[in-house]
Symmetry: C2
Subunit: 480 residues, 2 copies
């Protein structure tokens, strides 16, 4: 079978799996219910019986369903979705200076350690990256273009990489000129440059909560205040919440991650995206879009972006290759909209330009058309790893634990039952060389003290299994 | 003859050359004076007659002296050193917001262009860099350590590179622990992180004038004010000037380049360095040291650093490999003193960490002990290029032009006679694809409007010769 055929096939049975899981999640199938027969399901979905069978067997392997001889498949997984968080009606706190850095620093330091069980770093495991392929391309680019590799790249970036990124952006429906992208040393630098281009110390920035803790640290280092609107695992950010905040506060910029927000993996629907862009456009407020996980969608269609609805050049799309291709190369980009000159000035005084060999290598990787195939494989892998992780969480975590069911990315967000203090759990886990991220660091508020974030970046292993088991036992003990 | 012997020999005759040039500069030898005989000079300096002869012939080749048959060598070079700028007694302007960015941006933009005659980029020409050697090492490091190359490097940097930099710093008499250095994406990033760690918007930073224009741009993007004390081509920064400024203004930090300051290539003597460090220590004011050109000394001994006199952890030494090894790799470092935690927080929120393949390659290049030999060759080349450039400037530039005689680096700083507006000259030169930097961008004041900075980074060529000739003609025409 060709690789293509394998991929298609995997894709098909996984669609059936997703269908069943979604029926369970919505309550259409409850614990102990019998799944539709292979024949019925095959007819309903227009798929072959063998594909449906493959899905059922896979669900059995994961412990979602149970096969009873000569009877059929029965649901044995309980639904543990996170509930919708309360929204607009809730009173909002005033903007506050961000001051989480002590705890965040502690977590960040532990990220560098060689944890035996690594559930904190949000990056694909090395097994999922094209190590050899990209390594070879890097070597050959340096050999063939030694002067370009050692000399300064232009401030906006290596021209070939810029063209490639512009091309891919256009493919995704983003209105962009061939020389629009500015190359950065990763998405964090894109966000840093974007924020510094449009804000000054003391300004208020709107964020979603929970949000990636490094954003909070970034706001803190820049002396910015934060106003937090809810992020829902189910629907991302609500335009109503945004409108409410805009009426109430003087907001200088927004940072939002509409697709697979870290940590709740929420997806803001495209119509909400359009509404948000238009709300902000009316007030000329810059919108900094974190696009770093969008390529990791499990759904057939890539979710839309804020940028594609941008008519006034107010959206600054920030992204990188760190979650898909080469975290350590530190290559990202920024579609700067109307703030191009300011961003280039910031880039020039931050580090002049991005590392040339890394830019050249990734530019060539894209030019050779290798990215699409790699992403296809990576998404399937990440979805599988996330699925497996969810299954094991249900086995090992205390009853009442709720976990997100993302449709992309590599991050799970867990709410633990009872009043478990997950900062305490973080330290306990760390003492056993298990790296997790406690909920408290993902918000300026105190809403997530019983949450944890787990990365599904690395392939399942005995060691991970053991780590999850230990973590579940600790959580259960603390929840009593 | 071995390479080593060539180097020693070159070094010896060049010392004689320098000796003669210094006598001319000091007025001990005037136009038309006869040089001491070969025998006298040989005895005085304790060098062989053939070495002295080699120096005289070389000086003749450069047009500094003229050989008259059966008579000897006669001076024909006029002394064109820059005079000492006026100092402490002069009244000082109040700190001012930095607002040069418009003009600087224009210059920076032109730097990216493919100028036929490139005299603006301060980096060694590709011919002087170990393109193949470093390329091979990069390729083999990626091949041998694919996971390390593609994965995130720790925030402070690649451990092996950190060790190597600490080791070399110790060799240079800098008190440093093996894990002190923080790796950055070049010296500009070091300065950016250092400044953001100790200053806030609205603070005043003391700089020397002239200073590297990117520092002015950096201050401007950070909303900092500048107070400028004179930088003298002859003696760098004077502790008296600094003391005067400290008494008069509320200064939050200093940025000084004591060794081969860009653009005037001035060297602040080591005893002045020590006094400056102690003046600032008494007031607990952080001193950000630009160390990027120190390794390019033409003198036998490496000049000292502020950092070596630092007892209180107030000196933040900023440096990089951009002027010596691989500009485009974007690898630099920072010895952060007591501000380590703050700097790491800034680094984490700027771009998480520096590009891993570039760090690994340079770390390995240092580990293999290749740097010392490369630097030795590079210094000789740069000195030669600078010498040649000076010679041709004298031939082609209008009478009354003054030029620095640096003892390191790769930058010449020219004062043009009359009221030539060098911004105008910059635009004229640019229209003929000659890239230069006009004096005005190197200061917050209007002192250097008839200065230009020329890079001696690239080997002499017919094209450079032609460019310098054209430039001299333009300058002469404007000065009339």
């Amino acid at each position: 079978m060709t690789e293509q055929a394998v991929a298609n096939d995997q894709f098909r049975y996984q669609a059936v799996e997703r269908h069943i899981l979604s029926m369970i999640d919505k309550g259409a199938l409850g614990l102990g219910d019998k799944l539709p027969s292979l024949r019925t399901m095959s007819t309903n979905l227009g798929m072959s019986i063998s594909t449906v069978n493959q899905a059922y067997v896979e669900l059995e392997r994961k412990g979602v369903v149970e096969a009873r001889p000569r009877s059929g498949f029965y649901v044995q997984r309980r639904s543990i979705r996170l509930p919708k968080t309360e929204s607009a009606a809730a009173p909002m706190d005033a903007p506050r200076p961000v001051t989480r850095s002590g705890l965040i620093q502690t977590v960040l330091e532990s990220v560098g350690r060689d944890d035996a069980v690594e559930l904190c770093v949000i990056a694909p495991g090395a097994e999922l990256l094209p190590l050899k392929e990209l390594g070879k391309i890097t070597a050959s680019m340096i050999r063939e273009h030694p002067e370009r590799a050692l000399g300064y790249a232009p401030i906006p970036g290596d021209p070939e990489l810029i063209r490639q990124i512009a091309f891919h952006s256009m493919e995704h429906g983003i209105p962009v000129q061939p020389d629009d992208p500015i190359i950065t040393a990763g998405c964090m630098e894109s966000l840093n440059l974007a924020l510094r281009s449009v804000c000054r110390r003391g300004n208020t920035v709107l964020i979603q909560g929970p949000t990636y803790y490094c954003f909070l640290q970034l706001l803190e280092t820049l002396g910015l205040r934060a106003i937090e609107i809810p992020s829902n695992p189910e629907g991302g950010v609500s335009p109503d919440d945004l409108a409410h905040a805009l009426k109430t506060f003087d907001i200088s910029a927004c940072i939002l991650a509409p697709n697979f927000n870290n940590p709740d993996s929420s997806l803001t629907p495209d119509d909400a995206k359009e509404e948000i862009v238009s709300l902000l456009a009316r007030r000329d407020i810059p919108l900094i879009e974190d696009d770093v996980s969008t390529d990791l969608h499990f759904t057939p269609k890539r979710p839309g972006t804020f940028k594609q609805f941008d008519r006034k050049g107010l959206v600054m799309l920030c992204s990188s290759f760190s979650k898909t291709l080469a975290p350590g190369y530190r290559v990202g980009w920024l579609l700067p909209g109307r703030f191009r000159d300011k961003v280039l000035e910031m880039k020039a005084t931050t580090n002049v330009s991005t590392s040339a060999p890394a830019q050249m290598a990734i530019g060539e990787y894209l030019r050779q058309g290798r990215m699409a195939r790699h992403l296809k494989r990576l998404r399937l892998q990440l979805e599988k790893q996330m699925d497996t992780m969810q299954f094991h969480l249900e086995r090992h975590f205390p009853k009442g634990t709720r976990v997100t069911h993302p449709t992309g990315g590599m991050v799970l967000w867990l709410e633990l039952p009872g009043d478990v203090d997950t900062v305490e759990l973080f330290f306990q886990a760390r003492s056993r060389s298990i790296g997790i991220a406690p909920g408290a660091i993902f918000s300026t508020q105190d809403k997530f003290s019983n949450y944890i974030r787990l990365s599904c970046g690395t392939p399942w292993s005995q060691r991970l299994d053991e780590g999850i088991r230990q973590l579940g036992t600790m959580a259960a003990a603390m929840g009593r």
